[in-house]
Amino acid sequence: MNSQKLKVQQPTAPTRPGTVVEFVGVVKEFSGMRALDGFNLSLHAGECVALLGPSGSGKTTALRVLAGLESTDAGSITIDGIDVSALATSKRDMGMVFQSYSLFPHLSAGENVEFGLRMRKIKPAERRRRAAASLAMVGLDDHFDRFAHQLSGGQQQRVALARALVTEPRVLLLDEPLSALDAKVRVQLRDEIRRIQTELGITTLFVTHDQDEALAIADRVAVMRAGNIEQVGTPEELYSRPATPFIADFVGLSNRIDGLVRSAWAEVYGTSLALIDPSTPDGPVTVSIRPEDIEFAAEGLAATVVASSFLGSLRRTTVRLGDGTILFLQHGVRVHPRAGESVYVIFTGAPVSTEPVGPASVAQQQY
Protein backbone atom coordinates (compact mmCIF):
# COMPACT_ATOMS: atom_id res chain seq x y z
CA MET A 1 0.00 0.00 0.00
CA ASN A 2 2.72 2.42 0.95
CA SER A 3 4.46 1.86 -2.33
CA GLN A 4 1.19 2.31 -4.17
CA LYS A 5 1.33 5.46 -6.24
CA LEU A 6 -1.55 7.75 -5.60
CA LYS A 7 -2.84 8.41 -9.07
CA VAL A 8 -5.31 11.20 -9.56
CA GLN A 9 -7.83 9.62 -11.87
CA GLN A 10 -10.95 10.91 -13.41
CA PRO A 11 -14.15 9.44 -12.03
CA THR A 12 -15.78 6.74 -14.14
CA ALA A 13 -18.98 8.68 -14.56
CA PRO A 14 -20.76 11.32 -12.58
CA THR A 15 -23.33 9.76 -10.27
CA ARG A 16 -26.81 11.18 -10.33
CA PRO A 17 -26.56 14.49 -8.50
CA GLY A 18 -29.35 15.86 -6.42
CA THR A 19 -30.04 12.94 -4.12
CA VAL A 20 -31.45 14.17 -0.84
CA VAL A 21 -31.74 11.84 2.14
CA GLU A 22 -33.89 12.50 5.18
CA PHE A 23 -34.30 10.66 8.44
CA VAL A 24 -37.48 11.75 10.21
CA GLY A 25 -38.10 10.61 13.77
CA VAL A 26 -36.45 7.26 13.24
CA VAL A 27 -36.62 4.88 16.19
CA LYS A 28 -34.74 1.60 16.40
CA GLU A 29 -34.69 -0.64 19.42
CA PHE A 30 -32.56 -3.70 20.19
CA SER A 31 -33.95 -5.84 23.02
CA GLY A 32 -35.67 -2.84 24.57
CA MET A 33 -32.63 -0.56 24.24
CA ARG A 34 -33.10 2.42 21.96
CA ALA A 35 -30.23 2.65 19.51
CA LEU A 36 -32.00 5.45 17.63
CA ASP A 37 -34.37 7.65 19.58
CA GLY A 38 -36.37 9.86 17.23
CA PHE A 39 -33.38 10.40 14.98
CA ASN A 40 -33.61 13.32 12.53
CA LEU A 41 -31.03 14.22 9.90
CA SER A 42 -31.05 15.67 6.40
CA LEU A 43 -28.31 15.03 3.87
CA HIS A 44 -28.25 17.67 1.18
CA ALA A 45 -27.64 16.76 -2.43
CA GLY A 46 -24.04 15.82 -3.04
CA GLU A 47 -22.77 16.53 0.45
CA CYS A 48 -20.72 14.33 2.70
CA VAL A 49 -22.04 14.09 6.23
CA ALA A 50 -20.01 12.37 8.92
CA LEU A 51 -21.77 10.70 11.81
CA LEU A 52 -19.40 11.04 14.73
CA GLY A 53 -19.89 9.65 18.19
CA PRO A 54 -18.63 7.33 20.85
CA SER A 55 -19.32 3.59 20.80
CA GLY A 56 -22.99 2.81 21.30
CA SER A 57 -24.17 6.27 20.27
CA GLY A 58 -26.19 4.81 17.38
CA LYS A 59 -24.16 6.06 14.41
CA THR A 60 -23.69 2.66 12.77
CA THR A 61 -27.34 1.81 13.40
CA ALA A 62 -28.38 4.99 11.59
CA LEU A 63 -26.25 4.00 8.58
CA ARG A 64 -27.53 0.42 8.58
CA VAL A 65 -31.12 1.61 8.81
CA LEU A 66 -30.53 3.83 5.77
CA ALA A 67 -28.98 0.87 3.92
CA GLY A 68 -31.96 -1.28 4.82
CA LEU A 69 -29.78 -3.74 6.72
CA GLU A 70 -31.84 -2.96 9.83
CA SER A 71 -35.55 -2.24 9.92
CA THR A 72 -37.00 0.81 11.66
CA ASP A 73 -39.45 0.64 14.56
CA ALA A 74 -40.87 4.09 13.85
CA GLY A 75 -40.23 7.14 11.69
CA SER A 76 -39.36 7.32 8.02
CA ILE A 77 -36.38 7.51 5.70
CA THR A 78 -36.84 9.28 2.40
CA ILE A 79 -34.58 9.48 -0.63
CA ASP A 80 -35.48 12.33 -2.94
CA GLY A 81 -38.78 12.56 -1.11
CA ILE A 82 -39.73 8.90 -1.55
CA ASP A 83 -40.11 6.82 1.58
CA VAL A 84 -37.76 3.84 1.34
CA SER A 85 -38.28 2.55 4.89
CA ALA A 86 -39.99 -0.61 3.66
CA LEU A 87 -37.77 -1.11 0.61
CA ALA A 88 -35.36 -4.08 0.51
CA THR A 89 -31.65 -3.30 0.66
CA SER A 90 -31.11 -4.59 -2.85
CA LYS A 91 -33.65 -2.10 -4.21
CA ARG A 92 -32.30 1.00 -2.46
CA ASP A 93 -29.47 1.61 -4.93
CA MET A 94 -26.74 2.40 -2.43
CA GLY A 95 -23.05 1.69 -2.40
CA MET A 96 -21.52 0.63 0.87
CA VAL A 97 -18.00 0.14 2.20
CA PHE A 98 -17.73 -1.85 5.40
CA GLN A 99 -15.44 -1.52 8.39
CA SER A 100 -13.99 -5.00 8.08
CA TYR A 101 -12.64 -6.21 4.77
CA SER A 102 -15.60 -7.52 2.84
CA LEU A 103 -14.27 -8.43 -0.59
CA PHE A 104 -15.52 -11.78 -1.84
CA PRO A 105 -12.40 -13.93 -1.39
CA HIS A 106 -13.01 -16.29 -4.32
CA LEU A 107 -13.26 -13.44 -6.83
CA SER A 108 -10.49 -11.24 -8.18
CA ALA A 109 -10.54 -7.51 -7.55
CA GLY A 110 -12.02 -6.96 -11.00
CA GLU A 111 -14.69 -9.62 -10.49
CA ASN A 112 -15.55 -8.10 -7.12
CA VAL A 113 -16.09 -4.72 -8.77
CA GLU A 114 -18.09 -6.35 -11.55
CA PHE A 115 -20.41 -8.06 -9.06
CA GLY A 116 -22.94 -5.24 -8.74
CA LEU A 117 -23.02 -4.81 -12.52
CA ARG A 118 -23.58 -8.54 -12.94
CA MET A 119 -26.56 -8.29 -10.58
CA ARG A 120 -27.89 -5.57 -12.88
CA LYS A 121 -27.42 -7.88 -15.87
CA ILE A 122 -24.92 -5.60 -17.61
CA LYS A 123 -23.21 -7.33 -20.54
CA PRO A 124 -19.74 -8.83 -19.84
CA ALA A 125 -17.75 -6.46 -22.05
CA GLU A 126 -19.42 -3.41 -20.54
CA ARG A 127 -18.98 -4.85 -17.06
CA ARG A 128 -15.29 -5.32 -17.60
CA ARG A 129 -14.84 -1.84 -19.05
CA ARG A 130 -16.64 -0.17 -16.17
CA ALA A 131 -14.92 -2.29 -13.52
CA ALA A 132 -11.52 -1.42 -14.99
CA ALA A 133 -12.41 2.27 -15.03
CA SER A 134 -13.63 2.11 -11.44
CA LEU A 135 -10.44 0.40 -10.32
CA ALA A 136 -8.45 3.03 -12.19
CA MET A 137 -10.36 5.70 -10.30
CA VAL A 138 -9.00 4.33 -7.00
CA GLY A 139 -5.52 3.89 -8.47
CA LEU A 140 -5.64 0.09 -8.81
CA ASP A 141 -5.99 -0.34 -12.56
CA ASP A 142 -3.15 -2.86 -12.59
CA HIS A 143 -4.70 -5.00 -9.84
CA PHE A 144 -7.70 -6.31 -11.78
CA ASP A 145 -6.73 -9.98 -11.47
CA ARG A 146 -5.46 -9.91 -7.89
CA PHE A 147 -7.40 -11.69 -5.16
CA ALA A 148 -8.19 -10.23 -1.74
CA HIS A 149 -5.45 -12.22 -0.01
CA GLN A 150 -2.94 -10.72 -2.46
CA LEU A 151 -3.91 -7.15 -1.55
CA SER A 152 -2.98 -5.01 1.46
CA GLY A 153 -5.70 -3.72 3.77
CA GLY A 154 -5.66 -0.30 2.12
CA GLN A 155 -5.87 -1.83 -1.35
CA GLN A 156 -8.79 -4.02 -0.28
CA GLN A 157 -10.69 -0.98 0.95
CA ARG A 158 -9.95 0.83 -2.34
CA VAL A 159 -11.38 -2.12 -4.25
CA ALA A 160 -14.39 -2.08 -1.91
CA LEU A 161 -14.81 1.62 -2.70
CA ALA A 162 -14.58 0.94 -6.44
CA ARG A 163 -17.12 -1.89 -6.03
CA ALA A 164 -19.48 0.42 -4.16
CA LEU A 165 -19.22 3.20 -6.75
CA VAL A 166 -19.21 1.27 -10.03
CA THR A 167 -22.99 0.93 -10.08
CA GLU A 168 -23.34 4.73 -9.76
CA PRO A 169 -25.44 4.50 -6.61
CA ARG A 170 -27.65 7.28 -5.33
CA VAL A 171 -25.98 7.32 -1.92
CA LEU A 172 -22.57 6.17 -0.71
CA LEU A 173 -22.42 4.68 2.78
CA LEU A 174 -19.07 4.37 4.52
CA ASP A 175 -19.08 2.41 7.78
CA GLU A 176 -15.75 3.21 9.45
CA PRO A 177 -13.91 2.12 6.31
CA LEU A 178 -10.53 3.30 7.55
CA SER A 179 -10.51 2.00 11.10
CA ALA A 180 -8.64 -1.22 10.29
CA LEU A 181 -5.83 0.58 8.44
CA ASP A 182 -2.58 1.93 9.77
CA ALA A 183 -2.25 5.66 10.35
CA LYS A 184 -0.47 6.70 7.17
CA VAL A 185 -2.66 4.65 4.85
CA ARG A 186 -5.71 5.93 6.70
CA VAL A 187 -4.86 9.53 5.94
CA GLN A 188 -4.04 8.74 2.29
CA LEU A 189 -7.28 6.87 1.72
CA ARG A 190 -9.29 9.45 3.64
CA ASP A 191 -8.09 12.18 1.31
CA GLU A 192 -8.75 9.99 -1.69
CA ILE A 193 -12.31 9.21 -0.59
CA ARG A 194 -12.91 12.93 -0.16
CA ARG A 195 -11.49 13.66 -3.63
CA ILE A 196 -13.63 11.03 -5.32
CA GLN A 197 -16.74 12.03 -3.37
CA THR A 198 -16.28 15.66 -4.35
CA GLU A 199 -15.63 14.81 -7.99
CA LEU A 200 -18.62 12.51 -8.27
CA GLY A 201 -20.87 14.76 -6.21
CA ILE A 202 -22.41 11.73 -4.56
CA THR A 203 -24.40 12.15 -1.36
CA THR A 204 -22.37 10.34 1.29
CA LEU A 205 -22.89 9.25 4.86
CA PHE A 206 -19.62 8.51 6.63
CA VAL A 207 -19.64 6.85 10.03
CA THR A 208 -16.61 7.21 12.24
CA HIS A 209 -15.57 7.50 15.85
CA ASP A 210 -12.42 9.38 14.84
CA GLN A 211 -12.95 13.12 15.15
CA ASP A 212 -9.94 13.99 12.97
CA GLU A 213 -11.37 11.82 10.21
CA ALA A 214 -14.82 13.36 10.54
CA LEU A 215 -13.54 16.93 10.54
CA ALA A 216 -11.25 16.29 7.57
CA ILE A 217 -13.62 14.48 5.27
CA ALA A 218 -17.10 15.90 5.83
CA ASP A 219 -18.99 18.96 4.65
CA ARG A 220 -21.01 18.66 7.84
CA VAL A 221 -20.50 16.58 10.95
CA ALA A 222 -23.35 15.22 13.07
CA VAL A 223 -22.24 14.34 16.57
CA MET A 224 -24.35 11.57 18.06
CA ARG A 225 -25.05 10.70 21.64
CA ALA A 226 -27.50 8.16 23.06
CA GLY A 227 -29.33 7.55 19.79
CA ASN A 228 -29.76 11.12 18.73
CA ILE A 229 -27.85 14.03 17.28
CA GLU A 230 -26.31 16.39 19.79
CA GLN A 231 -25.19 18.91 17.17
CA VAL A 232 -24.82 19.05 13.42
CA GLY A 233 -22.75 21.64 11.64
CA THR A 234 -19.64 22.31 9.61
CA PRO A 235 -16.39 21.11 11.14
CA GLU A 236 -15.49 24.74 11.90
CA GLU A 237 -18.80 25.35 13.68
CA LEU A 238 -18.45 22.23 15.77
CA TYR A 239 -14.94 23.12 16.80
CA SER A 240 -15.35 26.79 17.47
CA ARG A 241 -18.99 26.92 18.61
CA PRO A 242 -19.85 23.55 20.21
CA ALA A 243 -23.47 23.51 21.31
CA THR A 244 -22.83 21.55 24.46
CA PRO A 245 -19.92 20.73 26.77
CA PHE A 246 -20.13 17.14 25.46
CA ILE A 247 -19.39 18.39 21.94
CA ALA A 248 -16.62 20.66 23.21
CA ASP A 249 -15.10 17.71 24.99
CA PHE A 250 -15.65 15.15 22.21
CA VAL A 251 -14.59 17.30 19.26
CA GLY A 252 -11.06 18.51 19.79
CA LEU A 253 -9.20 18.85 23.06
CA SER A 254 -10.55 21.15 25.76
CA ASN A 255 -9.38 22.44 29.09
CA ARG A 256 -12.31 22.35 31.49
CA ILE A 257 -11.83 25.03 34.11
CA ASP A 258 -14.19 26.40 36.74
CA GLY A 259 -15.10 30.08 36.35
CA LEU A 260 -17.79 32.63 37.02
CA VAL A 261 -20.09 34.30 34.47
CA ARG A 262 -20.95 37.95 34.97
CA SER A 263 -22.73 39.97 32.28
CA ALA A 264 -21.64 37.85 29.33
CA TRP A 265 -18.05 37.63 30.55
CA ALA A 266 -16.42 34.64 32.18
CA GLU A 267 -13.87 35.21 34.90
CA VAL A 268 -11.24 32.48 34.92
CA TYR A 269 -8.27 32.76 37.25
CA GLY A 270 -8.73 36.51 37.38
CA THR A 271 -8.92 36.90 33.59
CA SER A 272 -12.14 38.15 31.97
CA LEU A 273 -12.95 36.29 28.78
CA ALA A 274 -15.73 37.27 26.37
CA LEU A 275 -18.35 34.57 25.96
CA ILE A 276 -19.41 33.41 22.51
CA ASP A 277 -22.97 33.18 23.74
CA PRO A 278 -23.78 36.48 25.51
CA SER A 279 -27.06 35.09 26.80
CA THR A 280 -25.25 32.77 29.21
CA PRO A 281 -26.81 33.37 32.63
CA ASP A 282 -24.65 34.68 35.43
CA GLY A 283 -23.31 32.19 37.91
CA PRO A 284 -20.64 29.58 38.46
CA VAL A 285 -19.70 27.59 35.38
CA THR A 286 -17.19 25.16 33.97
CA VAL A 287 -15.70 26.68 30.84
CA SER A 288 -14.07 24.78 27.98
CA ILE A 289 -10.99 26.49 26.57
CA ARG A 290 -9.10 25.12 23.58
CA PRO A 291 -5.38 24.36 24.09
CA GLU A 292 -4.42 26.90 21.39
CA ASP A 293 -6.22 29.62 23.38
CA ILE A 294 -3.73 29.36 26.22
CA GLU A 295 -0.23 30.72 25.61
CA PHE A 296 3.09 31.09 27.36
CA ALA A 297 3.82 34.67 28.43
CA ALA A 298 6.39 36.71 30.32
CA GLU A 299 3.94 37.07 33.17
CA GLY A 300 0.55 35.63 34.07
CA LEU A 301 -0.48 32.47 35.87
CA ALA A 302 2.51 30.71 37.37
CA ALA A 303 2.74 27.08 36.29
CA THR A 304 5.16 24.17 36.14
CA VAL A 305 5.71 22.15 32.97
CA VAL A 306 4.67 18.53 33.44
CA ALA A 307 5.38 17.20 29.93
CA SER A 308 5.73 18.33 26.35
CA SER A 309 5.00 16.23 23.26
CA PHE A 310 6.20 16.80 19.71
CA LEU A 311 3.28 16.26 17.29
CA GLY A 312 4.99 17.07 13.99
CA SER A 313 3.71 20.49 13.03
CA LEU A 314 2.95 21.55 16.59
CA ARG A 315 3.76 20.74 20.18
CA ARG A 316 1.40 19.99 23.06
CA THR A 317 2.54 20.90 26.56
CA THR A 318 0.95 20.00 29.87
CA VAL A 319 1.40 22.39 32.80
CA ARG A 320 0.25 22.34 36.41
CA LEU A 321 -0.98 25.52 38.09
CA GLY A 322 -0.27 26.31 41.72
CA ASP A 323 -3.62 24.87 42.83
CA GLY A 324 -2.95 21.60 41.05
CA THR A 325 -5.12 22.32 38.01
CA ILE A 326 -3.75 20.71 34.84
CA LEU A 327 -3.86 22.71 31.58
CA PHE A 328 -2.98 21.68 28.02
CA LEU A 329 -1.37 24.17 25.67
CA GLN A 330 -0.85 23.81 21.95
CA HIS A 331 1.91 25.87 20.37
CA GLY A 332 4.63 26.02 17.75
CA VAL A 333 7.45 23.50 17.77
CA ARG A 334 10.12 26.15 18.19
CA VAL A 335 9.08 26.62 21.79
CA HIS A 336 10.29 23.58 23.68
CA PRO A 337 9.55 23.70 27.40
CA ARG A 338 11.28 21.14 29.60
CA ALA A 339 9.55 19.14 32.30
CA GLY A 340 9.88 20.86 35.67
CA GLU A 341 10.47 24.29 34.12
CA SER A 342 8.62 27.26 35.70
CA VAL A 343 6.54 29.21 33.21
CA TYR A 344 3.70 31.72 33.01
CA VAL A 345 0.55 31.19 30.97
CA ILE A 346 -2.30 33.46 29.89
CA PHE A 347 -5.74 32.90 28.37
CA THR A 348 -5.95 34.46 24.92
CA GLY A 349 -9.17 33.09 23.46
CA ALA A 350 -12.79 32.85 24.41
CA PRO A 351 -14.18 29.71 26.02
CA VAL A 352 -15.94 27.59 23.41
CA SER A 353 -18.61 26.47 25.86
CA THR A 354 -19.83 26.93 29.39
CA GLU A 355 -21.64 24.56 31.69
CA PRO A 356 -23.33 25.63 34.92
CA VAL A 357 -21.89 24.03 38.04
CA GLY A 358 -22.78 23.94 41.71
CA PRO A 359 -21.28 26.58 44.05
CA ALA A 360 -19.20 23.99 45.88
CA SER A 361 -17.12 23.46 42.82
CA VAL A 362 -16.30 27.13 42.44
CA ALA A 363 -15.52 27.54 46.11
CA GLN A 364 -12.45 25.40 45.55
CA GLN A 365 -11.07 27.94 43.12
CA GLN A 366 -8.73 30.66 44.33
CA TYR A 367 -9.06 33.95 42.49
Binding site: A67, G68, L69, A88, T89, S90, K91, R92, D93, M94, G95, M96, F98, S100, S102, F104, P105, H106, F115, G116, M119, R120, H149, A160, R163, A164, T167, L173
Partner: protein
Protein backbone atom coordinates in the same frame (compact mmCIF):
# COMPACT_ATOMS: atom_id res chain seq x y z
CA UNK B 1 9.36 -39.18 17.10
CA UNK B 2 5.76 -40.25 17.66
CA UNK B 3 4.93 -39.72 13.98
CA UNK B 4 8.15 -41.46 12.95
CA UNK B 5 7.52 -44.53 15.12
CA UNK B 6 3.82 -44.99 14.61
CA UNK B 7 3.23 -43.63 11.11
CA UNK B 8 6.35 -43.34 9.01
CA UNK B 9 8.02 -46.63 10.00
CA UNK B 10 4.87 -48.81 9.64
CA UNK B 11 4.14 -47.12 6.31
CA UNK B 12 7.63 -47.85 5.04
CA UNK B 13 7.39 -51.47 6.26
CA UNK B 14 4.01 -51.87 4.56
CA UNK B 15 5.40 -50.49 1.33
CA UNK B 16 8.52 -52.62 1.66
CA UNK B 17 6.68 -55.91 2.24
CA UNK B 18 4.78 -55.40 -0.99
CA UNK B 19 8.06 -55.56 -2.91
CA UNK B 20 9.78 -58.44 -1.12
CA UNK B 21 8.93 -62.13 -0.88
CA UNK B 22 9.17 -64.41 2.16
CA UNK B 23 12.87 -64.98 1.59
CA UNK B 24 13.54 -61.25 1.49
CA UNK B 25 14.19 -61.13 -2.25
CA UNK B 26 12.86 -58.25 -4.32
CA UNK B 27 9.80 -59.17 -6.38
CA UNK B 28 6.98 -57.48 -8.26
CA UNK B 29 4.77 -60.58 -8.11
CA UNK B 30 3.01 -59.51 -4.93
CA UNK B 31 2.33 -56.00 -6.19
CA UNK B 32 1.06 -57.51 -9.43
CA UNK B 33 -1.53 -59.31 -7.29
CA UNK B 34 -3.22 -55.91 -6.89
CA UNK B 35 -4.48 -56.48 -10.45
CA UNK B 36 -6.20 -59.71 -9.43
CA UNK B 37 -9.98 -59.51 -10.14
CA UNK B 38 -10.82 -60.44 -6.54
CA UNK B 39 -8.55 -57.72 -5.19
CA UNK B 40 -9.92 -55.21 -7.69
CA UNK B 41 -13.49 -56.06 -6.62
CA UNK B 42 -12.50 -55.54 -3.00
CA UNK B 43 -11.01 -52.14 -3.81
CA UNK B 44 -14.14 -51.30 -5.80
CA UNK B 45 -16.32 -52.24 -2.79
CA UNK B 46 -14.21 -50.11 -0.49
CA UNK B 47 -14.44 -47.22 -2.97
CA UNK B 48 -18.19 -47.19 -3.37
CA UNK B 49 -18.85 -47.80 0.32
CA UNK B 50 -16.50 -44.95 1.28
CA UNK B 51 -17.79 -42.62 -1.43
CA UNK B 52 -21.45 -43.26 -0.65
CA UNK B 53 -21.11 -42.85 3.12
CA UNK B 54 -18.87 -39.79 2.61
CA UNK B 55 -21.41 -38.08 0.35
CA UNK B 56 -24.38 -38.90 2.58
CA UNK B 57 -22.42 -37.96 5.70
CA UNK B 58 -21.22 -34.71 4.14
CA UNK B 59 -24.65 -33.62 2.93
CA UNK B 60 -26.44 -34.52 6.17
CA UNK B 61 -23.62 -33.09 8.30
CA UNK B 62 -23.58 -29.83 6.32
CA UNK B 63 -27.35 -29.54 6.70
CA UNK B 64 -27.03 -30.03 10.47
CA UNK B 65 -24.28 -27.37 10.57
CA UNK B 66 -26.50 -24.94 8.69
CA UNK B 67 -29.40 -25.63 11.07
CA UNK B 68 -27.07 -24.98 14.01
CA UNK B 69 -25.90 -21.61 12.69
CA UNK B 70 -28.82 -19.87 14.36
CA UNK B 71 -27.97 -21.33 17.77
CA UNK B 72 -25.68 -19.44 20.12
CA UNK B 73 -22.16 -20.93 20.03
CA UNK B 74 -22.08 -21.11 23.83
CA UNK B 75 -25.74 -22.12 24.17
CA UNK B 76 -26.85 -25.55 25.43
CA UNK B 77 -27.90 -26.84 21.99
CA UNK B 78 -24.56 -26.07 20.32
CA UNK B 79 -22.42 -27.31 23.17
CA UNK B 80 -24.46 -30.53 23.38
CA UNK B 81 -24.21 -31.18 19.63
CA UNK B 82 -20.51 -30.31 19.62
CA UNK B 83 -19.81 -32.71 22.49
CA UNK B 84 -21.96 -35.46 20.98
CA UNK B 85 -20.26 -35.06 17.61
CA UNK B 86 -16.85 -35.29 19.21
CA UNK B 87 -17.81 -38.57 20.89
CA UNK B 88 -19.84 -40.13 18.08
CA UNK B 89 -17.22 -39.38 15.44
CA UNK B 90 -14.96 -41.78 17.35
CA UNK B 91 -17.72 -44.29 18.11
CA UNK B 92 -16.89 -46.74 15.30
CA UNK B 93 -15.74 -50.24 16.15
CA UNK B 94 -17.11 -53.15 18.11
CA UNK B 95 -19.37 -50.92 20.25
CA UNK B 96 -21.04 -49.44 17.20
CA UNK B 97 -21.40 -52.86 15.57
CA UNK B 98 -23.01 -54.20 18.74
CA UNK B 99 -25.35 -51.20 18.91
CA UNK B 100 -26.58 -51.96 15.40
CA UNK B 101 -26.87 -55.69 16.05
CA UNK B 102 -28.88 -54.94 19.20
CA UNK B 103 -31.22 -52.55 17.41
CA UNK B 104 -31.56 -53.66 13.81
CA UNK B 105 -29.88 -57.07 13.91
CA UNK B 106 -31.91 -60.22 13.20
CA UNK B 107 -33.12 -60.29 16.82
CA UNK B 108 -32.69 -56.55 17.30
CA UNK B 109 -35.11 -54.46 19.29
CA UNK B 110 -36.28 -52.36 16.35
CA UNK B 111 -36.38 -55.37 14.02
CA UNK B 112 -38.66 -57.27 16.37
CA UNK B 113 -40.84 -54.23 17.03
CA UNK B 114 -41.36 -53.59 13.31
CA UNK B 115 -42.08 -57.25 12.67
CA UNK B 116 -44.46 -57.73 15.61
CA UNK B 117 -46.26 -54.38 15.35
CA UNK B 118 -46.40 -53.64 11.64
CA UNK B 119 -45.59 -57.01 10.16
CA UNK B 120 -42.60 -55.43 8.47
CA UNK B 121 -39.58 -57.70 8.04
CA UNK B 122 -36.54 -55.60 7.24
CA UNK B 123 -34.58 -58.76 6.39
CA UNK B 124 -37.19 -60.11 4.02
CA UNK B 125 -34.73 -60.00 1.14
CA UNK B 126 -31.74 -61.29 3.06
CA UNK B 127 -29.63 -60.42 6.07
CA UNK B 128 -28.04 -57.30 4.59
CA UNK B 129 -26.72 -55.92 7.89
CA UNK B 130 -23.78 -58.36 7.88
CA UNK B 131 -22.78 -57.62 4.28
CA UNK B 132 -21.05 -54.66 2.64
CA UNK B 133 -24.45 -53.00 2.18
CA UNK B 134 -25.05 -53.38 5.89
CA UNK B 135 -21.98 -51.26 6.59
CA UNK B 136 -23.59 -48.18 5.05
CA UNK B 137 -25.73 -47.28 8.08
CA UNK B 138 -23.04 -47.79 10.76
CA UNK B 139 -20.53 -45.86 8.67
CA UNK B 140 -22.94 -42.93 8.20
CA UNK B 141 -23.45 -43.01 11.95
CA UNK B 142 -19.88 -41.83 12.54
CA UNK B 143 -19.48 -39.90 9.28
CA UNK B 144 -22.17 -37.30 10.08
CA UNK B 145 -20.62 -36.22 13.42
CA UNK B 146 -17.19 -36.04 11.79
CA UNK B 147 -18.63 -33.75 9.11
CA UNK B 148 -20.17 -31.52 11.79
CA UNK B 149 -16.81 -31.21 13.54
CA UNK B 150 -14.85 -30.41 10.38
CA UNK B 151 -17.35 -28.28 8.45
CA UNK B 152 -18.85 -26.13 11.21
CA UNK B 153 -15.82 -23.79 11.46
CA UNK B 154 -15.99 -23.13 7.71
CA UNK B 155 -19.68 -22.28 7.86
CA UNK B 156 -19.10 -20.03 10.83
CA UNK B 157 -16.35 -18.23 8.95
CA UNK B 158 -18.81 -16.90 6.37
CA UNK B 159 -18.71 -13.16 7.04
CA UNK B 160 -22.06 -11.41 7.53
CA UNK B 161 -20.56 -8.53 5.53
CA UNK B 162 -20.52 -10.73 2.41
CA UNK B 163 -24.28 -11.17 2.60
CA UNK B 164 -24.72 -7.46 3.29
CA UNK B 165 -22.39 -6.47 0.45
CA UNK B 166 -24.33 -8.77 -1.85
CA UNK B 167 -27.58 -7.06 -0.82
CA UNK B 168 -26.27 -3.50 -1.20
CA UNK B 169 -24.93 -4.42 -4.64
CA UNK B 170 -28.41 -5.48 -5.70
CA UNK B 171 -28.03 -9.22 -5.12
CA UNK B 172 -30.71 -11.61 -3.88
CA UNK B 173 -30.60 -14.44 -1.35
CA UNK B 174 -30.09 -16.86 -4.24
CA UNK B 175 -27.19 -14.83 -5.63
CA UNK B 176 -25.61 -14.80 -2.18
CA UNK B 177 -25.73 -18.58 -1.85
CA UNK B 178 -24.90 -19.52 -5.42
CA UNK B 179 -22.35 -16.80 -6.25
CA UNK B 180 -20.72 -16.23 -2.86
CA UNK B 181 -21.42 -18.70 -0.05
CA UNK B 182 -21.31 -21.98 -2.00
CA UNK B 183 -18.13 -21.09 -3.93
CA UNK B 184 -16.44 -19.91 -0.73
CA UNK B 185 -17.52 -23.05 1.12
CA UNK B 186 -16.68 -25.41 -1.75
CA UNK B 187 -13.03 -26.07 -0.80
CA UNK B 188 -13.99 -26.75 2.82
CA UNK B 189 -16.90 -28.95 1.80
CA UNK B 190 -14.91 -30.99 -0.70
CA UNK B 191 -12.01 -31.16 1.75
CA UNK B 192 -14.32 -32.51 4.44
CA UNK B 193 -15.80 -34.93 1.91
CA UNK B 194 -12.31 -36.28 1.18
CA UNK B 195 -11.62 -36.60 4.90
CA UNK B 196 -14.84 -38.59 5.32
CA UNK B 197 -13.87 -40.77 2.36
CA UNK B 198 -10.48 -41.46 3.93
CA UNK B 199 -12.14 -42.13 7.26
CA UNK B 200 -14.44 -44.75 5.77
CA UNK B 201 -11.79 -46.21 3.47
CA UNK B 202 -9.44 -46.91 6.36
CA UNK B 203 -12.13 -48.02 8.80
CA UNK B 204 -11.67 -51.58 9.98
CA UNK B 205 -13.11 -52.42 13.38
CA UNK B 206 -16.80 -51.84 12.64
CA UNK B 207 -16.61 -53.95 9.48
CA UNK B 208 -14.58 -56.65 11.24
CA UNK B 209 -17.17 -56.90 14.01
CA UNK B 210 -20.18 -56.97 11.69
CA UNK B 211 -18.94 -58.92 8.68
CA UNK B 212 -17.80 -62.38 9.61
CA UNK B 213 -18.11 -64.05 6.22
CA UNK B 214 -15.84 -63.04 3.36
CA UNK B 215 -13.54 -60.07 2.87
CA UNK B 216 -15.57 -57.61 0.88
CA UNK B 217 -13.48 -54.51 1.65
CA UNK B 218 -9.74 -53.94 1.60
CA UNK B 219 -9.05 -53.80 5.38
CA UNK B 220 -10.88 -57.14 5.78
CA UNK B 221 -8.89 -58.64 2.94
CA UNK B 222 -5.66 -57.52 4.61
CA UNK B 223 -6.85 -59.28 7.76
CA UNK B 224 -7.56 -62.40 5.71
CA UNK B 225 -4.13 -62.29 4.09
CA UNK B 226 -2.56 -62.13 7.52
CA UNK B 227 -4.69 -64.66 9.41
CA UNK B 228 -6.66 -66.89 7.09
CA UNK B 229 -5.64 -70.52 7.10
CA UNK B 230 -6.28 -70.86 3.38
CA UNK B 231 -4.10 -67.87 2.65
CA UNK B 232 -1.51 -68.55 5.31
CA UNK B 233 1.89 -67.25 4.49
CA UNK B 234 0.70 -64.47 2.23
CA UNK B 235 1.74 -61.61 4.51
CA UNK B 236 3.32 -59.99 1.47
CA UNK B 237 -0.06 -59.79 -0.20
CA UNK B 238 -1.22 -57.93 2.89
CA UNK B 239 1.70 -55.58 2.37
CA UNK B 240 0.74 -55.04 -1.27
CA UNK B 241 -2.87 -54.36 -0.28
CA UNK B 242 -1.68 -51.94 2.37
CA UNK B 243 0.48 -50.28 -0.28
CA UNK B 244 -2.62 -49.87 -2.46
CA UNK B 245 -4.49 -48.34 0.46
CA UNK B 246 -1.61 -46.02 1.24
CA UNK B 247 -1.54 -44.78 -2.35
CA UNK B 248 -5.30 -44.10 -2.28
CA UNK B 249 -5.06 -42.39 1.10
CA UNK B 250 -2.05 -40.33 0.03
CA UNK B 251 -3.88 -39.03 -3.02
CA UNK B 252 -6.98 -38.24 -0.96
CA UNK B 253 -5.01 -36.52 1.78
CA UNK B 254 -2.98 -34.48 -0.69
CA UNK B 255 -6.24 -33.24 -2.16
CA UNK B 256 -7.56 -32.54 1.33
CA UNK B 257 -4.46 -30.60 2.24
CA UNK B 258 -4.57 -28.47 -0.93
CA UNK B 259 -8.24 -27.67 -0.40
CA UNK B 260 -7.75 -26.84 3.27
CA UNK B 261 -4.96 -24.47 2.40
CA UNK B 262 -7.19 -22.64 -0.09
CA UNK B 263 -10.07 -22.55 2.41
CA UNK B 264 -7.79 -21.14 5.10
CA UNK B 265 -6.61 -18.40 2.74
CA UNK B 266 -10.17 -17.40 1.96
CA UNK B 267 -11.21 -17.39 5.59
CA UNK B 268 -8.47 -15.01 6.74
Amino acid sequence: MYVLLFLAVPTLIAIGTGFFDNTGAFTLVTVAALGDPVVLTTFFNSFWLSALTAVVGAVVGAAVCYALLGARPDGPLRTTIDSLSGVLAQFGGVMLAFAFVATIGIQGMVTLYLRDTFGLDIFENGVWLYSTTGLILPYIYFQVPLMIITFMPALQALKPQWAEANATLGGSTASYWFRIAFPVLAPSFIGSLLLLFANAFSSYATAAALVSQGSQIVPLQIRAALTSETLLGRENLAGALALGMIVVMAVVMLGYSALQSRAARWQQ
